[in-house]
């Protein structure tokens, strides 16, 4: 028998397309991907219906925040509110997705098979990140659509007005920007989960670190603010304060934007500061991920 040699072009970016195709094929076939998106849609639906139920409670004096809750149930707030939930709860899901994406290759020991079937480690990791980005964006889009659909339902059930006067070009432009801002604030957490899964050679360290940082940082930040002095300024260089600064641009009533930090911080970081800081974190997590993945031996 004469062996057949299949020819494939090789260049710095050759093969990336087909490798991404293989990765998306795996993700599409995986139940967990669908479950995570279903959880996101479920949470958005649940929160909206809870708000609807609360809005219908007849409190003596009307309740000081009832007006805001009813505003949230209106159609104009449906998209920004969905994005606000995506920025907080969606981040946790993105962390799980990112850590699983690379960590399970170690858990299932498929990393060896995958690497000897990939043109390079750089391309393998790039494939993972591109696919992850595509999946996060798709999840966010589904979340927004679900949020708007649920908003229509709650509007109908709650007997609120179906006035589409808000749907102007500037409104959609603002939502478009907020969509990308939300993506921007999710990425540092997702990349941290990705990095720690590489460092720990398993999904769990990535999930634990990512979610741990997401939830514990706000508590630690609070203590730092209470300490005062220069320590109170440290949170401005951490993740959550900067994430909050960006998500507060969603123009939602206080307490609903998931980003209002006026009570927690003496002075929230400026928007450019927040963008730069989060960008640096994302780049550092990304660079470290590539560095460790390229440098370390695949054993065990």
């Amino acid at each position: 028998m004469t062996n057949t040699i299949y020819t494939v072009k090789t260049s710095p970016f050759s093969g990336l397309g087909r490798m991404i195709g293989a990765e998306l094929f795996k993700l599409r076939k995986r139940t967990m991907t669908k479950v995570l998106i279903l959880i996101l849609v479920g949470i958005i639906t649940l929160v909206n219906f809870l708000l609807l139920a609360i809005s219908k409670v007849d409190l003596p004096g009307g309740g000081p925040g009832m007006g805001n809750i009813r505003d949230m149930l209106g159609l104009p707030s449906a998209i920004p509110f969905a994005l606000a939930m995506i920025s907080s709860f969606g981040s946790a899901l993105a962390i799980i997705m990112a850590a699983n994406s690379i960590g399970n290759e170690y858990n299932w020991k498929t990393i060896r098979t995958a690497l000897i079937s990939s043109e390079s480690r750089f391309k393998f990791l790039t494939t993972k990140l591109v696919s992850l980005t595509a999946l996060v964006l798709a999840g966010m889009l589904i979340g927004v659509v679900a949020g708007f659909a649920v908003g229509m339902i709650t509007t109908a059930i709650g007997g609120y007005s179906f006035n589409f006067g808000f749907a102007t070009g500037s409104y959609f432009w603002e939502q478009f920007l907020q969509f990308w801002r939300t993506f921007y604030v999710i990425m540092p957490y997702a990349l941290l989960g990705f990095l720690m899964a590489i460092v720990g050679r398993s999904a769990m360290p990535g999930i634990a670190t990512g979610i741990g940082v997401q939830f514990l940082e706000s508590i630690i930040t609070m203590f730092m603010v209470l300490a005062g002095g220069w320590i109170a300024k440290v949170p401005n260089f951490l993740l959550s304060a900067n994430v909050n600064a960006i998500t507060s641009l969603n123009d939602l009533p206080q307490g609903f934007g998931m980003g209002d930090t006026s009570n927690a911080l003496e002075a929230a970081p400026s928007i450019p500061h927040a963008f730069i800081t989060l960008g640096i974190y994302s780049l550092v997590f990304l660079a470290l991920g590539y560095y460790f993945f390229k440098k370390r031996d695949v054993t065990g």
């Binding site: 062996n3 040699i5 795996k26 690497l115 031996d297």
Partner: protein, 319 residues
């Protein structure tokens, strides 16, 4: 014979024997541990090469270094005549390997797992998936989820995956692990066939009997060092012994021990075990008869790879 066939045969005979893997002075240190210490190996096209060693001897580390999963501390690796530095995709495309154990995505079917590989490697037609699954008798279970496969089926899928890219070098780590006797025989029959198809096969196995049956050359690694690297028939001839039953054992031992070509004489129960070259049976008998001793039994006890392995590795379990 057609011109095409003649040319094919010529190219095959030229291809046979070409060195596909050459490892020179390969070392790997993990912290304070020298996992592999300056080993050298050579594997030729058409050859089935057995790579043996006890647990933790450095087999998987060596395979990992060959495949670029582990960076060597020192030494060089040549694949298909090209010294490997940095990216070795050009060589990896010509290699099919199972490292340590077959590993696939548990939520995908056997077919889908192979499809992921064909998409990732590129340039492999989908018909190849059917072909390799048929070859390992897994086509009828191809749509079942990998997570539900038995160990034997996982092994078959592993072998199928190595054949996907029509490799010129195949590295198999314990390929019959978990297979039933019929499956073991199938794989044992398949391995020499693969080598006859002008491929080189590196077989890491602890089933020494299996290695003995299919390999032409063997390297035994212990504590990171190659302690034997030779054609299997040479290795086996080294441990050749004559087993003799004779009445006066002390006298016989003393007579035989004095002969220059006798390496050792040892009493084991009712027998004398004599370490001699395999063609010296008649000379031993003659020497005893000259001294009035007559052997009632004289058995040429050819050593097995297992006994050679245990002797060389000091009785460590083979893996």
């Amino acid at each position: 014979m057609t011109t095409a066939t003649i040319m094919e045969n010529q190219s095959e005979s030229e291809a046979r024997g070409e060195v596909v893997l050459r490892v020179i002075g390969l070392s790997k240190r993990f912290g304070a541990l020298d996992a592999v210490k300056g080993i050298s190996l050579e594997l030729r096209r058409g050859e089935v090469f057995g790579f043996l060693g006890p647990n933790g001897a450095g087999k998987s580390t060596t395979v990992g270094m060959i495949l670029g999963l582990i960076t060597p501390t020192a030494g060089s690796i040549e694949l298909f005549g090209v010294k490997q530095n940095g990216n070795r995709w050009a060589a990896l495309r010509r290699i099919g390997a199972i490292v340590e154990e077959p590993a696939f995505y548990p939520y995908l079917s056997g077919w889908d797992n192979l499809e992921v590989l064909t998409r990732s490697i590129g340039g492999i037609p989908k018909s190849k998936i059917t072909e390799v699954l048929e070859r390992v008798n897994l086509l009828d279970r191809a749509k079942d989820q990998y997570g539900h496969y038995s160990m034997g089926m996982k092994q078959r899928l592993g072998i199928a995956s190595t054949l996907l890219r029509d490799p010129e070098l195949i590295i198999l780590d314990e390929p019959t692990n978990g297979l039933d006797p019929a499956g073991t025989k199938e794989i044992r029959d398949l391995i020499p066939r693969l080598a006859h198809e002008s491929r080189a096969v590196m077989l890491c196995s602890h089933l020494l009997h299996e290695v003995e049956m299919v390999c032409q050359n063997v390297a035994i690694i212990k504590q990171g060092t190659i302690i034997a690297n030779a054609p299997i028939k040479d290795l086996l001839s080294h441990g050749n012994r004559l087993q003799i039953r004779v009445e006066n054992m002390e006298q016989a031992a003393s007579i035989l021990g004095a002969l220059p070509w006798v390496k050792s004489v040892k009493r084991e129960g009712e027998f004398l075990m004599i370490d001699v070259p395999p063609d010296r049976g008649a000379s031993v008998n003659h020497a005893l008869a000259e001294n009035g001793l007559f052997a009632s039994e004289l058995i040429n006890s050819a050593s097995s790879l297992e006994s050679v392995f245990l002797q060389l590795t000091g009785g460590a379990s083979g893996d």
